[in-house]
Amino acid sequence: MIRHMLTSLAAVAIAVPLAAQEVMPDPKAWGDVTAAAEGQTVYWHAWGGSNSVNEFIAWAGDQVQETYGITVEHVKLKDTADAVSRVIAEKSAGKDAGGAVDLIWINGENFAAMKDQGLLFGPWAESLPNWEFIDVEGKPAVKSDFTVPTEGLEAPWGMAQIIFYHDSSRLDIPPRSIPALRDWAQDNPGRFAYPQPPDFLGSTFLKQVVLELAPDPSVLSEPVNEANYVAATTPLWEYLDDLTPNLWRGGAAYPQSGARLVQLMNDGEIDLALSFNPNEPSNAIANFELPDTVRTYVLEGGTIGNASFVAIPYNANAKEGALVLANFLMSAEAQARKSDPAVWGDGTVLALDKLNAEDRAKFDAIALGVATLAPEELGQSLPEPHPSWMVRLEEDWTARYGVGQ
């Protein structure tokens, strides 16, 4: 067995340089790309925890199948890291072409890490035909993922923003700022929870607190260093020291994800929660996961928002197919459907004024869900801090609150 393994490893090592001579697709020659894409199967690795998302992905697959003859297989992940691990494992095994992952739904730290390790194919995103409709001016996050320049290595396909939600039948007037939240928790101990960092929603809550309390929030857009870190986070730790005893379970246990917050809200264990998808509560109401008395809001000073993207690994097998799919995801047709709360309710990355009247009408026709805020109510989102902040915050949070000390 072992000998066989070694032989195979050797064979792979020899074969790799030859396989690497692959011709890379060029999105500027779009006709060639769509021609090469026909008949390909695109394995799209994307989080599979939501019906609405899964159904949208299935729909998108049907569309590109019909128009371009591309088959899309949704590889349902419980965590984006699984796809990243896969690419790393392939690189470790020397499989530099014909990889299993064609397209990944990704953003933030995962993107920064893959970009940093040279695991991504590109640049390609800004050469796609639909790039011209992207709202680059109004939504800077589409080119700057957690402040890391995307450099065309990933294409935006949705906008997310932190919202808070509460059951209006139990809690009528929720706290609308970070300090107000602390005071409210003091009066209502055990009725608020945030997911345990490094869950991305939990970490984002920490960043939201830092943004609101830091003496000079502008340092957050720069890489973290010892001096700016201490100054910016001292108010955070003071705040959390006050808040933690009044958290759900007194901070002795934390929910593991945003999904668990929905359960806790429904079970009446908490009265106030947060989400990274402004439409999640409306979706949950439609699925009987929450009562229809749940409402959402954003903090007075605004909340963190970001874009989510799709990226293509360096060794993807069906790069042309992935390019065509990514381009379709940025189309008015796909974006309008995606922002319909009855389908998913995710924010669009397009600038509506760049669209023709017909396409714009698709967006106008959308009816908002009962617990969904209108774009003007959501307001301008706050930018994500540089990813290096997240790493430090998560480490320190774990040391202070995550290990029972």
Binding site: M1, I2, M5, S8, H45, G48, G49, S50, N51, N54, V75, K76, L77, K78, D79, T80, A81, D82, S85, R86, I88, A89, K91, S92, A93, K95, A100, V101, G108, E109, A112, A113, Q117, P189, G190, P198, R249, G250, A252, A253, Y254, Q256, S257, G258, A259, R260, V262, Q263, L264, D267, G268, E269, F288, E289, P291, T398, A399, G402, V403, G404
Partner: protein, 549 residues
Amino acid sequence: MLGPVLAGLLGTLAPAFGYMPALGGTTFSLNAFEALFAWPGLSSAVGLSLGVGLASTALSLAIVTLICAGWADTRTFAMVERLLSPLLSVPHAAAAFGLAFLIAPSGWIARGLSPWATGWEQPPDLLILQDPAGLSLIFGLVTKEVPFLLLMTLAALSQVRAGQSLRVAQALGYSRVSGWLKTVFPLIYRQIRLPVYAVLAFSMSVVDVAIILGPNTPSTLAVQVVRWMNDPDLALRFQAAAGAVLQLGLVIAGLGLWRGLEMAVAGIGRRWTASGARGHRVFDQGVRGLALGLGAVAAIAVIAGLAGQVAWSFAGLWQFPDLLPDGFTFRNWQRHGARLAGPGLETLTIAALSTGLALLLTLACLEAEHRHGLRPATRALWLLYLPLIVPQIAFLAGFQTLSISTGVDGGRMAVTLAHLVFVLPYVFLALADPWRAWDARQDTVARALGAGPDRVLWMVRLPMLLRPVLTAAAVGFAVSVGQYLPTLLVGAGRVPTLTTEAIALASGGDRRVIGVYALAQMGAAFAPFALAVLLPRLIWRNRKGLLNG
């Protein structure tokens, strides 16, 4: 079995010592271990893993032992056996979800008592689930380990002539429980030692159940390692690998500790046996009641948990403190029913293939042992058990790299082979004892009648052992159905099974969806158990000699 596990371990050891060229680690160093030991939660996590593993194993073994001591060969025992065995087919995560909904402060039990008995209009802020001591995790593990150990003990019981020993002891004036513990238990334990070790290793390394029921400030070491592996910060992969190596060391230490406990208990037991104490009837009654009670709690917890899943899968809005949902709906099943077909078929195909292969290998092995008069070597058994004892997190990442580099990757056959690594030990475990316990004189008679070994195998031995063969197949099938990480890693995500779909969907937290998939998963695993019971009854309905045996 050895190859994939060792290759996988190598794939973990290298990054633990800093070597992983894909992430820029090209020199060997101890940095990853330094980072690991600098992590502030390490000692708690290690202590927790060790404590949970030892406690749940000891508790499960105690319950199974006392049930057997108190009730073997009684009608109640047959009932307990029939009740507990199917629980083996409940996937771990499904059982954990069920239990979580049962015992949470907003769970089914609290709903049943609120507000009329408790006065709770809203659930109390009580730390029941995910308690820092890991009690609910231990509870969850025990409910799943008791059926497994019971099945193993039953197989052993048929071999050691337990009934005779017990009758002799009772004739000498020993009470039932004392007599059983003194005369039968030492023989039984020798036979089930490896399964017990497997249980210990499993409960120290389990991830899915520990995420649902276990504490998280900090969590067990295995869960923490998985977190690091999944962290977007790729530098943590090295720390994760170091953690996986530590986890392996921890399991070895745990096994060593258990071995020490074994010897201590054996010493005490010998003194107790030599003392000639006969045991008191009152004590006996107490023990019998306690054993039955604990076994019943384990069984009821799983069954009620499943009932909760059924209820959720049909539920409309369902809030605290309502005992039942506001309304029932078929919508969840309509929505997911059609989507179950593809993964369901894939699950069944892979399970059938891997179980078939495992059965073939096991039979070939056992038959060769029989024909050539070989003695089963304990050392060989250890090899077989390796995949059950080495924590999955310590070798699956390396296993994946191996499968990619050998090109056995990304397809149904690759996943089947990966499943085989885990299915084979269980099938062997379930079949070896009944196979060996078959009366060799039956073979002599058949051979003396002029039948060659093949004819004896096909015409006599296999038909007579139909039930254990089917039971072993059912166990293997259930193991295959439940595989998550091997399916995902070796299948490159391209081989969707009920379990991979269920776990992905479960990350969305909708209990209705979790319920639908858990029931589908459970159905896939349970059907073979039902067949294993029904088929022999049907085929041998006119053969009394095989119905009772």
